[in-house]
Symmetry: C2
Subunit: 207 residues, 2 copies
């Protein structure tokens, strides 16, 4: 089976399990893998079809174009990570920020294949599709900012520049998708824990 193994491809099934029919899902997962590895423009429709074990023409049975394939991936990927960030729980602002950073950074490691397409292929989207995902990205930013603002309001965080700190925290988590490799020393959970610790140190008052 091409979508399982130690390289994290097993997790692709988890994100894309709602896509039907099965051939459309196989094609989408093949596209995610190819786009993540070589980039959207370096990937040919033949690459995708071949990875999915089908003929070059089979791509167009379920998708109108290569770009529509990318848009599907980008949209669902953004919706998934936004839902993750919006569903953070915790008793106080410290715990909520910790959980948010841990989850968001960890997601970019565990689902690095999807995350790479989500974060680094935005410019390949059509203008209309780009605007659709840009709206989701604004919501992601708002969520993360609210976790910082809560702590400032409660007086448990010391953050001189909340907008700048939000930018930095998101940036830190997103960039995990660029450098993470499944064979490395750290698991996604460990990366989440490391980053949550670093961010909490960043916002803690001097006392």
């Amino acid at each position: 089976m091409t979508t399982t193994g130690v390289d994290g491809f097993a997790l692709l099934d988890e994100i894309w399990r709602t896509v039907t029919p099965e051939a459309a899902r196989r094609m989408l997962i093949a596209a995610v893998r190819a786009f993540a590895e070589k980039g959207y423009h370096a990937t040919t429709t033949r690459d995708i079809a071949s990875l999915a074990g089908m003929s070059p023409a089979a791509v167009y049975i379920h998708y109108r174009s290569k770009e529509e394939l990318l848009f599907n991936i980008s949209l669902v990927g953004h919706e998934t990570s936004l839902a993750l960030l919006a569903g953070i729980e915790g008793d106080d602002a410290v715990e909520r920020l910790k959980n948010a950073v841990s989850a968001f950074a960890g997601w970019h490691a565990a689902f690095h294949t999807t995350a790479r397409v989500v974060q680094y292929e935005l410019s390949a989207l059509s203008a209309e599709h780009h605007e659709r995902v840009a709206e989701l990205r604004r919501q992601i930013e708002q969520r993360m900012r609210s976790y910082l603002e809560d702590g400032v309001a409660e007086g448990v965080f010391d953050v001189p520049d909340v907008k700048g700190a939000t930018l930095a925290v998101l940036s830190l988590c997103i960039d995990v998708a660029r450098w993470y490799q499944p064979g490395g020393k750290r698991t996604p959970d460990e990366i989440g824990a490391l980053y949550a610790d670093l961010v909490l140190r960043m916002v803690r008052p001097a006392t």
Copy 2:
């Protein structure tokens, strides 16, 4: 003039001024702009030639291939940022880390056009060329780690996981190239200062 203006293109001349003859430099700068904006694979040799104000065939007068153009950009870009990081001065470990982060993050903002190609087009390099720049990237990591290690040795930093913190700090600076836009609210210097402050907060002892 195509290489000046408020959008940061003036700074391209600064990095590439040693490239001669002038037509080769114009072609290289055109390639940097095109690669940064659309990505290596989405850029055609005709795009590059057109931006440089020359014919499609003119690309091959000074460069053997499109990939060689990319390699030139990537090599010089890596060497420049490594030299910057290696030349950091400061009286103590705190000041050196502050200056290092400020300079490295600021470089990725000021020279975001070049930095984008440097950081996000590695996979388009040939295997041999990729190895050449990978060595430079290892040196960059070592430099940043040494600034953290110095502070730990002096007892002025509290960093439980130096390797992990190095990764995070580099990651933070590098990702500036992805999100930075010249029209934004912050200047490269301000981003450098913001990030230096955030990193120093991250490593400061609890007291």
